[in-house]
């Protein structure tokens, strides 16, 4: 028995040396049901041992034909479908769509509507970033910060629920206005939330972001150089993490963002290399503070007024087309809408930030370990609902 084993081992060894036994690449499927893919995404990995040689992403598991549906709906009916694309940032999605149709129809919305929209969009940004930060920590193995993040996100969802009755998919921002005005005591609730939320950022910083184990896992992993990011069309925290100072709220101002004082956060590579996972993560963390600043100023300046005076009875834009982009928590969300003068859109194309950001994964993950790939995927912060649409 012993001798047989020894013989076998010699055979294997000589086989490797002579090239008879193949020790080359292996193909492994990660997903579609893998907790770190944040939904249903299948990555076909070509591995050399533990090292990633190539990644072939397979999308479409959550494809719900948004663009085909949109062609069969009237313009206001499309809004609930927009909610369902990026279900963690439904307010921002509606905001972009409403803005595009308003520009197409040349509608001027009341001041109060603009202010409420900005407050809602920024609250939603905080909620979305909290999910991103919490789940990223969890991907890497830190479970506790996830609970802190979800605890605070709950306050935001409560505010949304009190405003419009829904916790996740709101159908709140309508073309020309809003579905409801805010409730009495809304301002107080929001200010109270911000007061209670600021210490959480410090808490998460202490627990997770400046934790040595966490930094070791993220620093210099998945480095995205700025020029590669631009060529791939990355946007949002993904691109800012690589040091590109670009935020649509400032550089292509829409709504009333030009009235507020706030800073665009960019990565600086202080933990490792510029554009690594830690930079992207920290951009999100610091952006939450900037959103708080915007919300405070918007609450202070919230004017009185009627929120439904500009809502059109019939939405029927003249023939034409428009490309409008807004800053989603994940990056540049673009709507390309063509109207042929009828009641339903001729073509709606969505440029989803998650879709574009995800396309970079093969380029930045080659040569890393499988365990690091989980960190990279988490730091891209995809929502499959909008990747697949």
């Amino acid at each position: 028995m012993q001798e047989e084993l020894l013989e076998l081992r010699e055979d294997i060894a000589s086989g490797i040396d002579s090239g008879k036994l193949r020790t080359d690449e292996m193909v492994l499927n990660m997903g579609p049901q893998h907790p770190s893919t944040h939904g249903v995404l299948r990555l076909e990995l070509v591995l050399d041992g533990e090292v990633v040689v190539k990644i072939i992403p397979h999308l479409g598991y959550l494809h719900r034909c948004f663009e085909k549906h949109a062609e069969a709906m009237t313009y206001p009916q499309v809004i609930p479908y927009c909610d369902r694309m990026d279900y963690l940032a439904a307010m921002n999605n509606d905001h972009g769509y409403a803005l595009a149709v308003e520009r197409l129809m040349d509608i001027q919305v009341p001041e109060r509507v603009e202010y409420i929209r900005v407050i809602m969009a920024e609250l939603q940004r905080i909620a979305s970033h909290l999910v991103a930060i919490g789940t990223f920590g969890m991907d890497i193995g830190a479970f506790t910060p996830f609970l802190y993040c979800f605890r605070d996100r709950e306050f935001i969802l409560d505010i949304f629920e009190k405003t419009c009755g829904a916790r996740l998919l709101y159908n709140y921002i309508w073309i020309g206005g809003l579905s409801h005005d805010v409730y009495d005591g809304f301002e107080k609730d929001v200010m109270q939330f911000i007061k209670a939320f600021r210490p959480t950022i410090t808490e998460v910083n202490n627990l997770l972001n400046y934790n040595k184990v966490f930094i070791e896992r993220c620093a210099s992993i998945g480095v995205l150089p700025p020029d590669v990011g631009i060529s791939f069309g990355c946007s949002g925290p993904m691109l800012r993490g690589s040091g590109v100072d670009f935020d649509l709220r400032r550089d292509d101002p829409y709504s009333i963002y030009d009235r507020f004082e706030w800073d665009v956060i960019v990565g600086d590579g202080s933990a490792g290399t510029l554009g690594d996972c830690w930079d992207r993560h920290m951009v999100r963390v610091k952006e939450m503070e900037e959103s708080c600043k915007i919300i405070e100023q918007a609450i202070a300046g919230l004017p009185e007024g009627d929120i439904s005076e500009a809502i059109p009875k019939r939405v029927r834009p003249l023939a034409g087309e428009i490309y409008t982009r807004v800053e989603n928590p994940r990056g540049e969300l673009g709507y390309y809408i063509i109207s042929d003068g009828k009641g339903n859109p001729f073509r709606v194309k969505v440029r989803a930030p998650g879709f574009v950001n995800l396309s970079v994964i093969d380029a930045i993950s080659r040569g890393c370990l499988v365990a690091d790939l989980v960190a990279i995927l988490g730091s891209i912060d995809i929502v499959l609902g909008e990747v697949d649409r």
């Binding site: 999308l59 479409g60 494809h63 034909c65 663009e67 085909k68 062609e71 590669v228 631009i230 060529s231 791939f232 069309g233 590109v244 670009f246 550089d251 292509d252 034409g320 087309e321 490309y323 982009r325 540049e332 673009g334 390309y336 063509i338 042929d340 001729f346 073509r347 194309k349 440029r351 879709f355 574009v356 396309s359 380029a363 697949d388 649409r389």
Partner: protein, 161 residues
């Protein structure tokens, strides 16, 4: 480096001088530049690399069925240097919808061209990985065409609900 961002019309006039072999047209309703299918790669290269344009960011690439026996591809460009936007359009006939790929010029176009092929069904010549992306790989037809008919069955499963 010029400090001024060029208007779409100025870009068109300059491009027209550079590419006298191709027939470029300017649509002032949108406004956009309509580029012939065989010229799009050269024009794109020029727009990205020439210092006076520097359109280094492809925001979006959309496939459109125009509904009149033609398909269109719309490119929305942005320049980080000058902070201006430009729209390009390519119109191809429905019988033979072929145009050159720009996936090597802006890497964004890689997945977007696959999406346009998948949903609208034009062929991008020279694309490195010309496959469907959102629909299943064995799906037949291109759903965003105006004359598309939903199939009865897909692999034995009933499709219309």
């Amino acid at each position: 480096m010029a400090a001024e961002a060029l208007t779409p019309e100025a870009v068109f006039n300059q491009l027209n001088d550079t590419f006298s072999d191709y027939e470029l047209t300017y649509d002032e309703n949108v406004p956009c530049i309509i580029v012939p299918a065989n010229a799009i790669r050269d024009v794109a290269m020029q727009l990205r690399d020439a210092e006076e344009y520097a359109f280094d960011y492809l925001m979006s690439l959309s496939g459109v069925d125009n509904g009149d026996e033609t398909l269109g591809v719309v490119y929305h460009l942005y320049s980080f240097t000058y902070k201006n936007q430009l729209t390009l359009k390519v119109i191809v006939p429905k019988e033979d919808p072929k145009l050159k790929s720009v996936a090597r010029i802006w890497l964004t176009a890689d997945w977007h061209e696959r999406e346009a092929y998948d949903l609208v069904g034009m062929t991008f010549e020279g694309h490195p990985d010309h496959r469907r992306i959102l629909m299943p790989y064995d799906w037949e037809g291109h759903p965003l065409r105006k004359d598309y008919e939903v199939p009865e069955f897909y692999n034995g499963m009933k499709v219309p609900y």
